[in-house]
């Protein structure tokens, strides 16, 4: 008996501690969240885009030029580059995922980008999609053939003839760049971008500068010349400076983009989704409201119909809720509207196990057993039904999780986790508390309290 009391108290204290963690780690519930411990700070609920507002982009990667064996590597490189580009813009907690082609997911290699808090799709697409193409070109020989356009009437279109110096491409491109930094000219205060090449780039640059002394070297960005300095001497240390008519912001962006590198594979946008922050907020509060009201409904029903065991069931349902919420924070699970729905449904299913047990308990009481015997028999005999009835839900949740789109994954994960935790909480926790209560003195009143529905607990 003492052992059981200690066990029950331990469960209560532990779940109290877990509840405190869930409460303390939620920024909205704590006024002084900034000064709380870092453990709490790093564990708020992770909200999906449909709850927090933001942009969801799906890109298709064109891997037609990539050798078969290297697709995985290029996709990971692509993800890293995009991640770096997003980080420059200071988006909090972006999610960039690669979705490989396969039997279920279709034939495209896809990149999925979630940007919480970003609702300007245009800006988002720009920051991800722009590949800065940096090229170094040298003056073409004076007698090189000029590119001219021929008009419709067969005559040369004189307007298209560019009489300025012509440039031809060299091998030196942004690929050989090691680092770009933002600097300001000491005299003019103009922003300039200083480039440092890697080993190959340094050699190439030295060669180019050596053979073009006195001539112009043009630096092209995205196909347009931004700077055409004249080479005065050979530059062997691999350093170059671009000074054009940048604004400081432009220069800063250019540096960021150059540092994040070029995309290893071309990408094209397949689908976009934006959810306004206010819509997300109202969905969150509606989800929380539905959860609380659903919980209240169940609690009311359990206590009215199952009396004392019902109270125990409400207690174990509360502990179930606390455990699942804490798991959501610790794993962490990204919560979406569908995910909240899955969790709320799992609350209903969690009660299912207790109902099965209590119905058996009532039968055992009718059969004339004492309360203590009826409680332990009720648990043993209900187990196979509980296992069977939850198994099919777990099977469905598993297949749904594998199905893949983030919406469904969220639902399947919360539902599956809920059902698994409920098998533990409904049985173990309810059993501890119910067997503690079953040592009460046996009389008409206690038999009534242990019975349910319209029955009075008398032996039939």
């Amino acid at each position: 008996m003492t052992k059981k009391i200690i066990l029950a108290l331990t469960i209560l204290v532990l779940s109290g501690a877990v509840a405190l963690f869930v409460y303390k780690s939620e920024p909205k519930l704590n006024k002084n969240f900034d000064i709380t411990g870092s453990f709490f700070k790093t564990h708020p609920f992770r909200l999906g885009l449909d709850l927090s507002g933001g942009t969801h982009l799906t890109y298709k990667a064109d891997i037609s030029l990539v050798p078969v064996g290297q697709v995985g590597d290029s996709m990971n490189a692509l993800r890293d580059v995009i991640e770096r580009r997003i980080n420059i813009f200071g988006v909090s907690e972006p999610v960039v995922q690669v979705q490989h082609s396969g039997f279920v997911s279709g034939s495209d290699e896809q990149l999925i980008v979630d940007l919480p808090g970003v609702t300007d799709v245009k800006q988002a697409v720009d920051m991800i999609g722009k590949t800065p193409l940096l090229e170094f070109k040298i003056e073409a020989p004076k007698d090189a053939p000029r590119i001219v356009k021929v008009g419709k009437d067969g005559k040369i279109d004189l307007g298209s003839v560019d009489l300025g110096p012509q440039f031809t491409a060299t091998e030196l491109t942004g690929r050989y760049l090691q680092k770009a930094t933002l600097e300001f000219d000491t005299n003019t205060r103009e922003p300039k971008v200083s480039l440092q090449f890697d080993d190959t780039g340094t050699k190439l640059f030295a060669q180019i500068t050596k053979s073009n002394i006195g001539k112009m070297v043009a630096i092209y960005l995205d196909g347009a010349p931004i700077s055409t300095p004249v080479v005065r001497e050979e530059i062997p240390n691999g350093q170059a400076v671009i000074s054009g008519s940048f604004t400081p912001t432009e220069a800063k962006q250019l540096v960021g983009r150059l540092n994040s590198g070029a995309l290893p594979v071309p990408i094209s946008l397949l689908s976009t989704q934006t959810i306004g922050a206010s819509l997300g907020d109202s969905a969150t509060s509606a989800g929380v409201k539905a959860g609380i009201i659903g919980f209240a409904f169940i609690a009311l029903f359990l206590i009215l119909w199952y009396r004392l065991p019902g109270v125990v069931a409400v207690l174990s349902l509360s502990i179930f809720t606390i455990i699942v919420l804490a798991l959501f924070k610790l794993i962490p699970v990204t919560l979406t509207t569908a995910g909240i729905a899955g969790f709320i449904i799992s609350m209903g299913i969690a009660v299912d196990a207790n109902v099965l047990i209590f119905e058996r308990l009532k039968e055992e009481l009718h059969a004339g057993r004492s309360i203590a015997d009826a409680v332990s028999a009720g648990f043993t005999r209900a187990w196979s039904s509980i296992r069977d009835s939850n198994l099919s839900t777990i099977i469905t949740a598993t297949i749904l999780f594998w199905f893949g789109t983030s919406l469904i994954k969220g639902f399947a994960l919360t539902l599956g986790m809920g059902v698994l935790v409920s098998m533990f909480s409904a049985i173990t926790i309810s059993k501890v508390f119910l067997s503690l209560l079953s040592f009460m003195k046996e009389n008409k009143f206690t038999r009534f309290m242990f019975s349910s529905g319209l029955s009075s607990g008398k032996v039939k």
Binding site: V104, V125, G276, I293, G294, T337, S389, L391, S392, I399
Partner: protein, 301 residues
């Protein structure tokens, strides 16, 4: 037990409901959402009163993006449906809706899905429906592997599948009617709802069949009672728990329908219907069917 006694009435009710659902599916057709067929969906809210559709139409027509459908939503908003849009078209459409900044349309939700993504999702949905159905059938076969007399286990399994179809078809029929009158669209969540109903409803049928199995094992030894009585008393013992458990799930689902987020409303409603008919079918359809089958296989006097 009155359920077994009046089984033909209950079986007819189920048959009529299934028939009505199938007819409405063919009559109204499924209103497929952009998840599957691709397209764009935009939701905007105006600061002042929303302009009339006719006033917006000319500006939208100029964009040349095919047919654009405007549906009023809330007090001051529109839901705009069109083919899938790229970023430029998206911005131009938003400008057209704002009508020269007199009354700015604020975008609350935008979703554009390319046709290839839609096709991919359709494939995924079909594959997972097949997989879940197969898994559930295997599960049923496993759960009834030990039953034999007086009805062999495959018949339990077959009836469980019939009940399952019943539980999926009726909510789908309700959904089709809802989508016809209230514009609910067949989207990913619909597929999830169907699959979840599959999972939830089979467990209920199994619990009742479990009871019948247990009781017929006990009764088999003295062979006094006939199968009808066994089923009747099994139902007596288990229908309270059946109703109680689905009631708890239905209670939380109703909370989701009435208080939950807008986006999961129809989803929760469909699950509620699925849960309700799942419980109904295991009590009023599956068990009476079992009795009916047993009566048929007996040699007639």
């Amino acid at each position: 037990m009155f359920i077994v006694k009046y089984k033909k009435i209950f079986l007819s009710i189920s048959a009529v409901l299934v028939l009505l659902s199938v007819i409405s599916m063919f009559y109204f057709g499924f209103n497929v959402g952009i998840d599957f067929k691709g397209g764009a969906l935009m939701e905007v809210a105006y600061e002042n009163d929303r302009p009339a559709k006719e006033d917006l139409a000319p500006a939208i027509e100029k964009l040349n993006i095919g047919s654009v459908l405007l549906q009023p939503t809330g007090d001051k908003g529109y839901i705009i449906k069109s083919r899938d849009l790229d970023e430029n078209e998206h911005l131009l459409l938003l400008q057209a809706l704002s009508g020269g900044e007199k009354n700015e349309a604020k975008e609350t939700n935008f979703n554009s899905i390319g046709p290839s993504v839609g096709a991919e999702l359709t494939r995924k949905a079909v594959i997972s429906v097949i997989l879940v159905s197969l898994a559930i059938i295997c599960f049923i076969a496993f759960a009834f592997r030990k039953v034999s007399k007086p009805i062999s286990s495959w018949k339990y399994g077959l009836i469980a599948v019939v009940a399952l179809l019943h539980d999926v078809i009726i909510p789908s029929g309700i959904f089709v009617i809802l989508s016809h009158f209230y514009g609910a669209e067949l989207d990913t969540l619909f597929v999830v709802a169907v699959l979840t109903i599959l999972g939830l409803s089979v467990s209920d049928t199994i619990v009742i069949f479990d009871r019948i199995r247990e009781n017929s094992k006990e009764q088999n030894d003295n062979r006094q009672t006939d199968f009808k009585t066994i089923v009747g008393s099994s139902l007596d013992q288990s229908f309270v728990r059946s109703i109680a458990t689905s009631l708890t799930v239905i209670l939380v689902l109703l909370a989701l329908v009435f208080f939950g987020p807008e986006s999961t409303k129809y989803f929760a409603l469909m699950l509620t219907a699925g849960m309700f008919f799942g419980t109904y079918s295991s009590i009023f359809l599956a068990s009476p069917l079992l009795v009916l089958w047993e009566e048929h296989q007996k040699p007639r006097p």
